[in-house]
């Protein structure tokens, strides 16, 4: 048996033999086992339980003067909290969706909490390549649209955190947050 020629296992007609099936079963068994071993190793690189536990942060809004913004860290990301002036709110509300690069969540009313129009909370990461835009302090460059200006590649955001000038493709992301009182929010 062991010495019989290879031709016996592969008839000239090219038919499938029992040995082909056994080989397939053996190889797929080995592949499944390798995958089962590899998965725990790969999954160990996902966020660990202690990282996931650091999921929310509270922000006191009282020290933020009108026209100013602050940065808080949430899950290692910068969160911009901006106290908008009445002019900035008006400017943000008057923009039509057709003027936007990214119309998704493009209305200013979709980007702030109802009744809290003066507070804009966005993830402060440029949607182009991940730099942190300038513009929280009134003395920072804020770009032509009065919001934020990214120093890396010149993307500009308006007073609602919407991208108005490329190369960034998307508006600044909105983190999950809620008002705990009129002067305090909880991000996450």
């Amino acid at each position: 048996m062991a010495d019989s020629s290879a031709a016996a296992h592969h008839p000239a007609s090219g038919d499938v033999t029992k040995r082909d099936l056994l080989q397939l079963i053996a190889l797929s068994g080995a592949a499944i086992a390798a995958g089962a071993i590899a998965w725990p190793l790969i999954d160990s690189m996902n966020p660990s339980k202690d990282v996931l536990a650091l999921s929310s942060v509270e922000v006191d809004l009282t020290p933020i003067a009108e026209g100013q913004g602050i940065v808080v860290s949430w899950q290692g990301k910068p969160i911009f909290v901006r106290h908008r002036t009445a002019a900035e709110i008006k400017e943000a509300q008057d923009v039509k969706l057709s003027q936007l690069i990214d119309p998704h969540d493009g209305l200013d009313s979709e980007r702030v909490k109802a009744g809290h129009d003066q507070w804009l909370v966005v993830v402060g990461i440029c949607t182009h390549l991940g730099c942190i835009p300038l513009g929280n302090k009134p003395s920072d460059p804020r770009g032509e649209y009065g919001g934020w200006f990214c120093p890396c590649h010149g993307s500009q955001y308006d007073t609602s955190g919407r991208v108005r000038h490329g190369p960034a493709p998307l508006n600044l992301a909105l983190p999950p947050y809620a008002f705990e009182s009129n002067t305090k929010i909880k991000v996450g």
Partner: protein, 425 residues
């Protein structure tokens, strides 16, 4: 074009690569058609098993290193973080921790196979010596890895083992200070042990490559210990031994899994659940089980320097084993006296291991001295003399002959064609 390799592979992509870099031809030659003695028993699985466990150790180790902190303040807690917070961290760490024990079980059996069947004899002396280098590197790696969790046994194990070097006259204390990077086992020690624990496995891979390369020059030994005489004595490595190794790997993985999932701390020491305390030595201090025989040798000698020399000597003597054993016959099957004495040596090794686990008092001191004596006498006295005195049993003419002879009275196997050479061999 003269330098290009002429590839025989039909697949055009493989052929293109193989023409320029003949790795496929090499793999086919060394692991495909490689002529391998056809009478291997399952003891010949253990080299491949050691390779598998090394790969598991490197893979799990890399992922552990992503979460471990080599800092005396953080190390212990970072291991607990791995156990509790990191996804599957418990599994990866238990696989790595028990994997070290598995590596030694497999390697000790692999070495026993070499001793029993005389695999260290000419022309495989260098192959054997590379194996001894691998064993010593493994021990260094295992020792430094055991220090990393920074528990009590880690700390005091590191202290005791590094202090071994203080036994050497004049330079001893300077060597110890150099190893520590300070005046006790501390942050510099932990940090460098982590670096070396990460490095040495890759050095191991290099030496194992040489070990395997040397093996493929001499060819494998076999249970009869006689040379391959003709292609009829061999089988192509694939599929015959790839499949036989796979069976062994499956059985081994089941054994390994029992430890990981059911008895993960059986081979560990409870003292290592206590964070390292440089001001208090635990009452019962023992090394990991795989070091116990050497530890027993160390303690059996009442003189510090001599004890250390004997302990290192127990490994160094293996380097010259090929020249100490004067018998030209390899396999213990044909050496009636050696066949008994090799088991006496194994018994001495096991007794040393048991002695190492007990406090050196009363009967354990006497037993460990007797066992140490035989450990060395076996290599230094018995083997050189036995080779001259022993009358070996008659060796079979070839690997094929006893197999075929037993089954059908010397004739060929029915249905087989033993006279026909293997097509590719």
């Amino acid at each position: 074009m003269a330098g290009l390799h002429k590839s025989e592979f039909a697949n055009p992509v493989i052929n293109w690569i193989d023409t320029r870099l003949p790795i496929f031809t090499m793999m086919q030659k060394e692991y495909g058609v490689f002529p391998t003695p056809k009478n291997f028993n399952y003891l010949w699985n253990f080299g491949a098993l050691a390779m598998v466990i090394l790969m598991i150790m490197i893979a799990t180790g890399i992922f552990l290193a992503m979460n471990y902190q080599p800092n005396t303040d953080l190390a212990f807690n970072s291991v607990q973080h791995i156990m509790r917070d990191v996804n599957f961290g418990w599994l990866i760490r238990y696989a790595h921790q028990n994997g070290a024990s598995m590596f030694f079980i497999v390697t000790y059996i692999h070495i026993f196979r070499g001793l029993y069947y005389g695999s260290y004899k000419t022309p495989r002396e260098l192959l054997w010596m590379l194996g001894v280098v691998i064993l010593i590197l493994m021990m260094a790696t295992a020792f430094m890895g055991y220090v990393l969790p920074w528990g009590q046994m880690s700390y005091w194990g590191a202290t005791v083992i590094t202090n071994l070097f203080s036994a050497f006259p004049v330079v001893g204390p300077k060597i110890v200070t150099l190893l520590w990077g300070g005046f006790s086992v501390d942050q510099p020690t932990l940090n460098r042990f982590f670096a070396l624990h990460y490095l040495l496995p890759f050095v191991l891979v290099g030496v194992i490559f040489l070990h395997v390369a040397a093996l493929h020059i001499t060819g494998s030994n076999n249970p009869l210990g006689i040379d391959v005489k003709s292609p009829q004595d061999t089988l192509p490595f694939h599929p015959y031994y790839t499949v036989k190794d796979s069976v062994g790997i499956c059985a081994f993985m089941a054994f390994f899994a029992c430890f990981i999932f059911f008895f993960p701390n059986l081979l560990g020491d409870p003292n290592n659940f206590i964070p390292a305390n440089p001001l208090s030595t635990p009452a019962d201090i023992v090394p990991e089980w795989y070091f116990l025989p050497y530890y027993a040798i160390l303690r059996s000698v009442p003189n510090k320097l001599l004890g250390v020399c004997m302990m290192f000597g127990s490994l160094i003597v293996l380097f010259v084993l090929p020249w100490l054993d004067t018998s030209p016959v390899r396999s213990a099957r044909f050496r009636p006296i050696y066949k008994m004495l090799i088991w006496v040596w194994v018994a001495a090794f096991v007794v040393l291991g048991i002695c190492g686990a007990h406090k050196p008092e009363g009967i354990w001191v006497i037993l460990s001295r007797i066992a140490t004596l035989y450990y060395f006498a076996h290599f230094l006295v018995v083997l050189p003399i036995l080779g001259k005195l022993e009358r070996p049993l008659p060796l079979p003419e070839s690997i094929s002959q006893p197999v075929l002879g037993r089954r059908s009275g010397g004739g060929p196997l029915p249905g087989a064609a033993p006279a026909k050479p293997m097509e590719k061999a």
